[in-house]
């Protein structure tokens, strides 16, 4: 038992911190510090810098451009990257399609897609959810019918994040509608988003942003060699993907960054004639969040350390659900802190006002952005299996009920 970071881990953290400090473009950092989500081009720009350094393929083997880090190192990297704040690595590219291809892809598929995924030459999106399915993924209906060396795909996906800017989509489809169990008869396809028959319709989120989409498939032809793994065995791939290494599922660095930003704002806003930072209730709220973050940080290291010990494979730890539930609770609590600091200034969407000003007003901009993050992250306890579903999982996995 060694409950503290090794000197190597401490040195590694310093190295990561220094690299980000020296290489993260200032304009990106400044926007994110004000609480804005990174733009697509920000994400691409930063991921390419990381890829050039050999750091983008986070958990990929070295032969495919991965950095060869331990799970704890990955954790450290993710946290430093979030706290910076820097754009997060494209999860679709790096923690989803990458590992899937590494595990199930043909040599041809790996060669074709992995290097481009690492560099975001292709932007991937995930075609899983369907209307009426939600957390009950296996009830999906989008159909793929084999015709010669193609599948003909018909159906609809929903909540498809970034589909409107994506080059490729990995897609779950039903190839055998007569399978005994719903989980059988599902296949996993890679689809070029430029294929005729694909229509993307935006879903605007309650923060006003356009991240999500409905995607309609109307006789979309997908070559059979773009199926990953065996026909009708796509559920195995999906399970692997969903259960795959939950490193970073808690997004603790993001919560920390929101607390840091709130404290920073609290220095600037006035509360009954004194800076809000001096208010004892505010300070206690921050202290309680720091405690909760610290507990989750250690739980997270326990999970990834066990993962490392198991040689980086092994079944997903049921503690992953703890990371998801507690992590999203913190994301929501910390973004809520930020809007409460913004106070009355959180009410307006200041974009028009800011555009009319002669010089930037960081406090106004941060106030407005804080609400965007708060609203958008109401979804954190919904996506990837609602927190209610996570507790169902814990009930089964840990309690055995």
């Amino acid at each position: 038992m060694d409950l503290r970071f090794t000197p190597e881990e401490i040195a590694f953290r310093e190295e990561v911190r220094a690299f980000i400090r020296d290489n993260l473009p200032t304009d990106i950092r400044d926007r994110m510090k004000l609480g804005h989500s990174p733009r697509k081009e920000d994400i691409v720009r930063w991921q390419r810098i990381l890829n050039a350094k050999g750091w983008a393929g986070l958990s990929w083997p070295k032969e495919w451009g991965g950095p060869g880090w331990t799970a704890i190192q990955k954790m450290i990297f993710l946290e430093e990257n979030q706290v910076a704040p820097a754009p997060e690595l494209s999860s679709f590219n790096i923690t989803m399609i990458g590992p899937v291809l590494l595990q199930f892809g043909t040599e041809e598929q790996k060669k074709r897609f992995l290097p481009r995924a690492a560099n975001i030459d292709d932007w991937w999106c995930q075609g899983f959810s369907e209307p009426g399915a939600g957390s009950d993924l296996a009830s999906l209906k989008t159909a793929a019918k084999r015709e010669g060396d193609h599948y003909i795909v018909n159906g609809q996906k929903i909540w498809t994040s970034t589909a409107h800017v994506a080059d490729w989509c990995f897609l779950l489809v039903r190839t055998n509608p007569n399978a005994r169990k719903r989980q059988e008869g599902i296949s996993f396809l890679l689809v070029d988003m430029k294929t005729p028959g694909i229509t993307v319709r935006p879903i605007i989120s309650i923060d006003g942003s356009h991240h999500l989409n409905e995607v309609f498939f109307d006789d979309v032809k997908v070559p059979v060699d773009l199926r990953v793994y065996e026909e009708n065995k796509g559920w195995d791939v999906a399970k692997f993907l969903l259960g795959n290494e939950r490193t970073g599922i808690a997004r603790l660095g993001k919560s920390r960054e929101r607390v840091n930003a709130s404290v920073e704002m609290a220095r600037q806003v006035n509360n009954n004639g004194r800076p809000l930072i001096e208010d004892s209730t505010f300070r206690q709220r921050v202290a309680q969040l720091e405690i909760d973050m610290k507990a989750l940080e250690i739980t997270q290291y326990r999970v990834v350390s066990a993962y490392d010990k198991a040689g980086g494979s092994g079944r997903p730890d049921p503690l992953s659900s703890v990371l998801k539930v507690k992590g999203t609770e913190l994301l929501q609590a910390t973004t809520e802190l930020a809007i409460d600091v913004a106070g009355p200034m959180a009410t307006p969407i200041w974009a028009e006002e800011l555009a009319a000003l002669n010089e930037p007003d960081d406090l106004l901009e941060a106030s407005s952005a804080s609400v965007g993050a708060y609203l958008f992250l109401r979804a954190a306890s919904i996506y990837g299996g609602t927190n209610e579903i996570q507790k169902n999982i814990l009930t089964k996995a840990v309690l055995g009920l």
Partner: protein, 378 residues
Amino acid sequence: MDFEPSDDQRLLLESVSRMLTDTYSFAQRKTYLAAPEGYSTAMWARFAEQGLLGVPFAEEYGGYGGGAQEIMLVMQAFGRVLVLEPYLATVVLGGGAVRIAGTDAQKKAILPAICEGNLKMAFAHSERQARYDLTDVVTTAKRDGDAWVLDGSKTVVQHGDTADKLVISARTSGERYDADGITLFLVDTSAPGLARRSYATRDETRAADISLGNVRVSDADVLGEVGKGLAIIQAVIDAGIAATAAETVGAMEAMNEMTLEYSKTRVQFGAPIGTYQVVQHRMSDMFMTQEQGRSMAMLATMMMDEEDQATRAHNMAMAKVGVAQAGRYVSQSAVQMHGGIGMTEEYAVGHYFRRCMVMERLWGDPAYYLQKLADEVN
């Protein structure tokens, strides 16, 4: 104690509800939103026709002669459908200030025009540096001959962009944070030197920053006594707290009904989600929270007739915190119970969520009022 509405109140409520059922579906509301004002001028005219714009004003000024209870009933009905029109700004706040502090001449000039739908008002008190501190006023009004000259700026004046007349606070004496020395003025938005920059707020209504550069106001447009504006401001804000408390209750009712309905139709893992006990208990919690919030909204309403200032302020603070906390819990829960669809602009629940978020921080959030109450613990 008697919590049942009187026959007149029941009639009022029924007529408002009937009108809103006909005119304020979520789809109809979208069309109102699309107007440049961000609301429907036709609906405003209809409110006037039905006498709603005169609810709290005396009959001699063309009003209905109602009080806080009638406003509660109307605002609750408005909250159920997220009425967009500037009722709060015009009738409760701006008009309320005139009702509370106006001279007979001012009332005659303003209240009938409000009742008829010909005059919209807004309440311009907050300044950008002030957060929730009511005495943090640095806008100044200086005597110049017969007139007052206003300089400074006001922020997040709700519906300030479409108002015809503003109630503006300015410092006529004393220093920032002084309770004395704040004076209210009635100012036309067309007054030379008054400029407005308008923007959207998170609840889809619009607000404005007001800048005042050498704006001249006559003595006749001083509202209340010179230097004694703070008490009026507090009374106006109390009316605003009571009104938005009722609106929040209406919004909670709507969200709870929506959630219940959704839970009956949304199938997950082979059964409607409303059959899962965890969902049922969450909805029970939402219901209990709504009812506790309703009680607090009633408290705010009953305090509008309380004459002891300390009692009134104490209870108003309690009501404000209770309702805000209830609205936050119910709206967060409603989104969670809806899952993905609750996160979308197309679906109603997120709009209620944001309206609650905005109301929660009007004139002070729970932390602000809790602090006040904590100071009184003895």
